[in-house]
């Protein structure tokens, strides 16, 4: 085939596939393609065995419609990946580039082997096709350049863990492979065009503008030399591509499959959902003590983790210097699984037909070994990691599962949390204040209990902070006055109310939390409660999402929803202007857990004279106050205090008032203001208090909160 045959002319533009690839190139190509694919298939088979070796069953294929949607949005359109500009664009360039190029290659191959399927693959279509491939080829190179810059020069902290780099050989190999495939592709094109344009009269060569520009540099080089170069490059290109295919399941490239798989199999449960432990009486083990106690999906998550570090970048525990990094947690579990799964597989294979395999006991302690206990207890359940994870990993339920093991099985956890739980057991509140005092705040106001007056529209579930904490009680009173002012029919449970169970549940004490939840459900159902208002987002979230498990099916509202409604209906008229600059701190359990971002801001906007400024982290990127996940009741003795860091953000925008919608946040922000010695200049107020002040009926003075230490 001397310099190729010119089958294509102007008007019938195209190119010859397998140009300058003499027999048996094609045959060799296909043999190696088959080998590469076989290696790839074996890799996946092996991985499949590892996936199914360990883990409890869990269904993740219900609701295919929603799952396909998640796949298309996040897999194909890269919605979550795009949330951050640099890595979003970087990944999109490589992803879309590669996606288009692979389809291009498939088109080429189809055209060659089954031309009847693509009869249009010449002429104008071909020219635009060539042009498009050039653009996306360049896109991949640009993406690789951005990736190299980021990983090897910029080195953002998220690609490390406390100064220890995550970067491994695999990262470099992949970038080299991809860049190599693209560069050799362009070179091939250049060599071919040098001959095709000059010898075969392919005047349309300029449509392949990158290859064409490179070909120009070859002017004067002999065609024979170029054809030899072309052949060599052709093989290099081919083998790089085969290498890519074969290497895929053994490298980070496996995310090409795992990421979309995980996006498809993401949890469709309400945000932050925790599966209740069903049978305390007969279960032998509770929580996650061994790898085997995770569900297969939780282990799969660890494998799907790409070490991108977005979770670490938003984790309040990590950022405040605690040992937890959601990324590291996944990577540590993945490493342990890759150690343990082959042992389990070997044991299963060794077992005789019909016999239970004898699986050797793990040599390592997982909870307290592979995963450090400080990591486990540092989590505030703030959901920031899960909100940003591009592959929808579920860190929080894994952490709570391991906490359950420590609390329920080993009863080995911090003394201050033990005291909190005992207080909840004995007096149904974390402080251990006499349970009979729960409804005392209401007496002066004349708020009735359901026992006194059962025929009301709403139950106001006050919660522990609102009932026992001196600062929290002021919020409760302000909100109750708002309800009375607006003529809303409501009552409370008073002494019949119990702790909502959120802190116990997230602190791993599922037995206690279920007991508390059941007591509340029974009390509420006794009065036929249908609608519930909570001022605490923790109660709100758990009443809404967990109580249905225990027979409590209520319409649950947060007080910001109710206040926003009452203002919109004109039932609350705000006339007294406020002064100073406000900033709103999103509670995790209101925002990320329940998507309530608008109502609190709408309420604030309705207050006359309101000047509102957003902190650096706001809305779904809000930074936790540090009190979620049972952390409210624990000492924070590692690293910086999370609430102080959040307070610094408020100080940065020069806020005079931090508006909150959660009693835990209120305590934490008030403490932060004290820690930063800003009490003269700043204060923290609940939205209900701000609205009550703006009603101009009477002055509610927000004192510095009084410490409410747990009883000894």
């Amino acid at each position: 085939m001397a310099h190729g045959a010119a089958a294509y002319t102007v008007g019938n533009e195209g190119r010859e596939i397998f140009w300058n690839a003499p027999f048996p190139s094609e045959l060799i190509l296909f043999i190696f393609a088959a080998i590469a694919m076989a290696v790839c298939a074996y890799g996946f088979y092996r991985r499949w065995q590892l996936w199914k070796a360990i883990g409890r069953p869990e269904g993740r294929i219900d609701k295919p419609g929603e799952r396909v949607k998640s796949l298309l949005l996040n897999g194909l359109l890269q919605v979550r990946t795009f949330r951050e500009a640099y890595p979003g664009i970087m990944h999109a360039l490589i992803f879309f580039g590669f996606f288009v190029l692979i389809f291009g290659a498939a088109f080429d191959a189809t055209h060659f082997h089954m031309p009847f399927l693509v009869p249009f693959f010449n002429g104008g279509f071909y020219l635009w096709f060539s042009f498009t491939m050039e653009v996306f080829g360049l896109a991949v190179l640009a993406g690789i350049a951005l990736a190299v810059w980021r990983r090897y020069i910029q080195k953002p902290e998220r690609l490390e863990y406390r100064g220890k780099s995550d970067t491994i050989a695999d990262d470099a190999i992949i970038l080299t492979l991809i860049a190599g495939i693209i560069i050799t592709g362009f070179l091939l094109e250049a060599f071919r065009l040098h001959v095709n344009v000059n010898v075969n009269g392919y005047t349309w060569g300029g449509w392949s503008f990158v290859g064409y520009a490179l070909a120009k540099t070859l002017t004067g080089v002999s065609y024979n030399t170029v054809e030899i170069l072309h052949q060599w490059t052709w093989w290099i290109h081919a083998f790089l591509a085969f290498g890519f295919i074969a290497y895929l399941p053994f490298s980070k490239l496996i995310h090409i499959v795992l990421a979309p798989a995980n996006q498809y199999m993401r949890s469709l449960k309400p945000t932050g959902y925790l599966e209740p432990i069903a049978d305390f009486e007969n279960a032998e083990s509770f929580g996650v003590g061994q790898l085997e106690d995770f569900t297969w999906k939780q282990i799969f998550n660890s494998d799907a983790c790409l070490r991108c570090g977005r979770c670490q970048d938003v984790c309040p525990a990590y950022l405040s210097g605690k040992p937890l990094s959601p990324k590291k947690l996944h990577q540590d579990i993945k490493e342990y699984w890759l150690e343990r799964a082959p042992v389990v597989i070997a044991a299963k294979n060794a077992a005789k037909e019909g016999e239970e395999p004898v699986i050797p006991e793990p040599e390592k302690v997982m909870v307290g070994g592979v995963i450090d206990l400080h990591e486990l207890w540092a989590c505030t359940n703030c959901m920031a990691c899960m909100e940003v994870c591009p592959v929808y990993n579920e860190h929080v339920p894994m952490i709570v599962g391991m906490r359950q093991y420590k609390v329920l099985m080993e009863a080995d956890f911090s003394p201050e949390l033990q005291l909190t739980y005992k207080n909840m057991e004995n007096n149904s509140n974390p402080w251990g204040i006499g349970a009979h005092m729960r409804g005392d705040w209401a007496k002066e106001l004349g708020v009735k209990t359901l026992a006194e007056k059962p025929d009301v529209e709403y139950l106001f579930y006050v919660g522990c902070s609102g009932s026992f904490d001196d600062r929290g009680k002021k919020v409760t009173v302000a909100f109750a006055k708002l309800l009375m002012e607006a003529g809303v029919s409501f009552g409370i449970l008073g002494e019949e109310e119990s702790c909502c169970g959120d802190s116990a549940m997230r602190g791993g004490n599922e037995y206690l939390s279920q007991t508390l939840m059941q007591m509340n459900v029974d009390a509420m159902n006794k009065y036929g409660v249908k609608k519930v208002i909570c001022t605490c987002p923790h109660g709100y979230n758990t009443l809404k999402k967990d109580y249905p498990h225990f027979g409590g099916n209520f319409e649950v509202y947060h007080h910001t929803e109710i206040i926003a409604d009452l203002i919109a209906q004109g039932k609350l008229r705000l006339k007294e202007p406020v002064s100073g600059l406000f900033t709103y701190h999103d509670s995790c359990f209101l925002g990320r857990y329940n998507d309530i971002y608008e109502q609190p801001r709408k309420i604030l906007a309705a207050v006359p004279g309101m000047k509102l400024s957003e902190m650096a982290s706001n809305n779904n990127r809000s930074f936790c106050c540090g009190a979620g996940g049972g952390r409210m009741w624990m000492e924070e003795d590692i690293g910086e205090r999370i609430n102080d860091m959040r307070t610094d953000q408020a100080i940065e925008v020069k806020a005079d008032t931090i508006a909150v919608a959660c009693p835990f946040c209120l305590t934490m922000m008030s403490d932060g203001i004290k820690d930063r010695e800003m009490e003269e200049k700043m204060n923290a107020l609940d939205i209900a208090e701000i609205v009550w002040q703006a009603m101009g009926i009477e002055e509610v003075v927000a004192d510095v909160p009084e410490e409410n230490a747990p009883k000894e």
């Binding site: 009486e281 080993e410 739980y421 004995n426 007096n427 204040i433 006499g434 037995y511």
Partner: protein, 253 residues
């Protein structure tokens, strides 16, 4: 090693205590009952001793039917079996006598009690029990160990601490600081439901069940007088007022 821990069920420290109209006792309805905190230290020490030396921990309690709940709590912490003694009218003496009669059958090496119960604060049961069993006693201990077949306990006194040795068997009463009582694990709670508890009537133990002491009358503590805020703008005048009040009303200077 045979270890006994005596426990008493008492109202939670935060419970709202109401007296019966006739002052003969407290209204028991609506009260959260818990294990006497000093007894918890005793149970914890008993469990530690068992973990170190092997043996059995028997938890013994005297009280009405609801006391079973407290016995189960101790069993959930890790005690092996329980003895529940019922009696109609208890005082410190007949309680100790009933415990002594029940414990004699167990033939223990060490008996732990709380140094006192937080409800009646009498602090007698441990000592009377030791006396009735003819055993040595070490009271109000904050440190405990067994070495060479002997008990060595630490008892804090004003400005010092005593290290007291005693042969076994003996009675030890626990003070705060002895240990940190454990939180019961869930398997512990579940297993506790199936552990054996012997229920015995005090009369059947062959003791004189008639109480020797009788509560004549209970009265609530007098209400604390409200605080006083000294009004005025002149600090000097306010200070003078304060001194006057402290001298004439409070009579402290």
């Amino acid at each position: 090693m045979n270890i006994v821990a005596c426990v008493k069920q008492v109202p939670d420290t935060e419970a709202l205590i109401k007296l019966k109209a006739d002052g003969s006792g407290i209204e028991e309805g609506g009260i959260k009952w818990v294990m006497n905190p000093y007894d918890e230290y005793g149970v914890e020490e008993a469990l530690k001793l068992k973990e170190a030396n092997g043996g059995d921990v028997t938890v013994v309690s005297l009280g009405p039917a609801r006391t079973m709940e407290t016995i189960r709590t101790a069993l959930a912490m890790g005690a092996d079996k329980g003895v529940h003694i019922t009696i109609d009218d208890a005082d410190a003496y007949n309680t100790a006598a009933a415990l002594a009669a029940a414990i004699k059958e167990i033939n223990p090496d060490v008996i732990f009690c709380g140094q006192r119960a937080i409800d009646d604060d009498s602090g007698q049961v441990g000592s009377v029990l030791a006396e009735l069993l003819g055993m040595p006693q070490i009271t109000i201990v904050t440190g405990f160990e067994v070495a060479d077949g002997k008990v060595k306990a630490i008892k804090p006194i004003e400005g010092a601490q005593l290290v007291i040795e005693s042969p076994m068997p003996c009675v030890v009463t626990a003070q705060k600081g002895l240990n940190e009582p454990r939180y019961a694990s869930l398997p512990g709670i579940m297993k506790a439901k199936k552990k054996p508890v012997d229920v015995k009537d005090a009369a059947a133990l062959g003791i004189d069940v008639a109480p020797k002491a009788k509560i004549a009358r209970m009265t609530p503590p007098s209400e604390r007088a409200p605080g006083k805020i000294i009004a005025g703008d002149d600090p000097a005048a306010k200070a003078a007022d304060l001194v006057k009040l402290l001298r004439e009303e409070a009579k402290v200077i």
